[in-house]
Symmetry: none
Amino acid sequence: MDVALVEFSERGFDGARVNHIAEMTSTSKRMLYYYFGDKAGLYRATLLAAYENAKAMDHNLTLNELTPTEALKQLVVKPFNNRSALTSFTRLVAGENLRRGECVKQLPEFQEINRPTLELIQTVYARGVETGEFKAGLDPLALLWLVLAPATFNVSNQHTFSAAWGEKLYTETGQQMLCDMAVQSVLSVVVKEQDSD
Amino acid sequence: MDVALVEFSERGFDGARVNHIAEMTSTSKRMLYYYFGDKAGLYRATLLAAYENAKAMDHNLTLNELTPTEALKQLVVKPFNNRSALTSFTRLVAGENLRRGECVKQLPEFQEINRPTLELIQTVYARGVETGEFKAGLDPLALLWLVLAPATFNVSNQHTFSAAWGEKLYTETGQQMLCDMAVQSVLSVVVKEQDSD
Amino acid sequence: MDVALVEFSERGFDGARVNHIAEMTSTSKRMLYYYFGDKAGLYRATLLAAYENAKAMDHNLTLNELTPTEALKQLVVKPFNNRSALTSFTRLVAGENLRRGECVKQLPEFQEINRPTLELIQTVYARGVETGEFKAGLDPLALLWLVLAPATFNVSNQHTFSAAWGEKLYTETGQQMLCDMAVQSVLSVVVKEQDSD
Amino acid sequence: MDVALVEFSERGFDGARVNHIAEMTSTSKRMLYYYFGDKAGLYRATLLAAYENAKAMDHNLTLNELTPTEALKQLVVKPFNNRSALTSFTRLVAGENLRRGECVKQLPEFQEINRPTLELIQTVYARGVETGEFKAGLDPLALLWLVLAPATFNVSNQHTFSAAWGEKLYTETGQQMLCDMAVQSVLSVVVKEQDSD
DNA sequence: AATGAATGAGCATTCATTCAT
DNA sequence: AATGAATGAATGCTCATTCAT
């Protein structure tokens, strides 16, 4: 349900109104309860669908023919752009974190959905270590963290950031610069120094 | 009002109940309205106080005696630790971003409050450029962004992240590693590489 | 349907949920409507079945070989014990009375079902009058009333009574005493006193 | 709140609508929640008030100048008539019993409210034993039970009873007869045989 | 400055019931 | 005979807010 995603991501769980969601759908509010049980059930389904969709977009890559370094670049660029394109998803996740991950922790499928994302970066990293391009001994999970941090922050804190210091970074060129910085910062951690340009 | 900070950061603007705040204070709900006008007014005051406090903590540094590189390190480490210590603040900011910065954009003092933070990094960066340690031509605002991104993400997405991939990164040693990575990633962007020298 | 009896007797007509009844049956809710029309129809069927069953239990007696006095005793003891055993029935009847007998008054078979009960006591009373053991001129219906009052009250007001004055009367010995009292009180009304003889 | 008593006694706890109560009062539904917290709170208050009122009516007697036997008669007649006059109360109690006394068991004042009723019968019985009019060794609580049973049954099962066997017992003369029977049945248990007329 | 009482509008949720197949 | 999907109308309850004092 796209409209539920919009409502929940726009107003958070508490702010979201089942009424609004129903009114913007062809079905009635009553049907929402018929299918999802309650507001939390609807939220759960929405969250899950949003995660699946985001994963699909992040994984829409063909890395095998790239060098590990180039592949890693893609693994930074892609989420960076996607978080921006999937503002609703990013907001939904921010909201779920405000709820202390209450819902996500109870979703049995949640870990399974996310596993491939870690595997992806793991594979590329392993290839890079093998070719000698990458430093050995790094934690792929920390790498993933390093990739997601700027991509997520860029979207989730956009409003307070630009309220404080202006919109300069949120122009097209500003975003390009940030993306480049994000790439460089990840590479500097992963790639062996003598190899870096 | 500390209790308002807790309530708003814990439940977001919509989830927060004026009742709860009143009940946990010595004053009555009626008095809250007397002083702050409405819920939004209370929220505004809370937000402002939280920002002031966070700024004070981030600026609790004596950088003049450090080399620019060492100072920059501090400028990364300090917010990283502070965001963690000030979870309530970080949550509050996340909530305000979900509201699209609605409140923060109308606060006339907001830009003024934040300006010193940018000036701080600007000063250090200028010194580093002067001494030749830092690359020239970088945007201090982008640097600030690069500093805040990991510090904020680390706290604001903690729950979904650890729900997806476990708590490993949120142990003491995990946090140390992330902080080191954050430092390294910033330095790699700012500091001239000795190889290319 | 036993499960309907439980639901209606447990929660009353308003409190009963057609859903609950359906879920605890092998048939679906939809089928309940198919067979009984509506909730009231289901209730009607339940009530009728419960009355038939109670009557069957109350009449499970062989009085012909007893003296009228002994038979009368049985006619007191039996319902007293049965109302207790048939708590569900007693509760159902209490609920129907709260509805002002709305349903029972529209059941055409209702009077017919109950008639044998009155006939039973009538027969015994007539025999007793004939033998001279019983006072003449009493109204058998009033006798029936006198028999049912303690038996019913004992169950239907059990909870408020024991909440007010403790459970003492609802122990095994307590119940025995009450039953004896009920018997004695009926006999005192019906049986000729030997003193006045 | 008289109107709450009517609503709850008329429709039971589940059937009662807070809306109805509010509409029939000068206050709003919102105020009901302000004062009583929730539906259960309103019910609790209603139940308590009804019990207090019933007690007041049952105790509106001056027994000191009567012989124990005459006093005991009053103790049977009074509740018998009162249960009839206080139909709402009797229905409310029946409803509470259907709820298994859930509410009444949690009311801390409940036992205290009822104690005087037992003391009253206790006092009269003690006097009667002293004068030799009454049999010794009876349990005053069982006596109370014997008094309340017909009085309560008479009202609480009125509808099913008259639906089954007609209204004959619920005419004025019928009620008089039942009351006499109730008196006689209690006396026969309490009063020594040689004394009973 | 301070407050107890009041309120309109709205919320998530539930229920008995029926439509289309 | 049997059923999954659909629904209008309520229900208990809550919330931010204000009135009168």
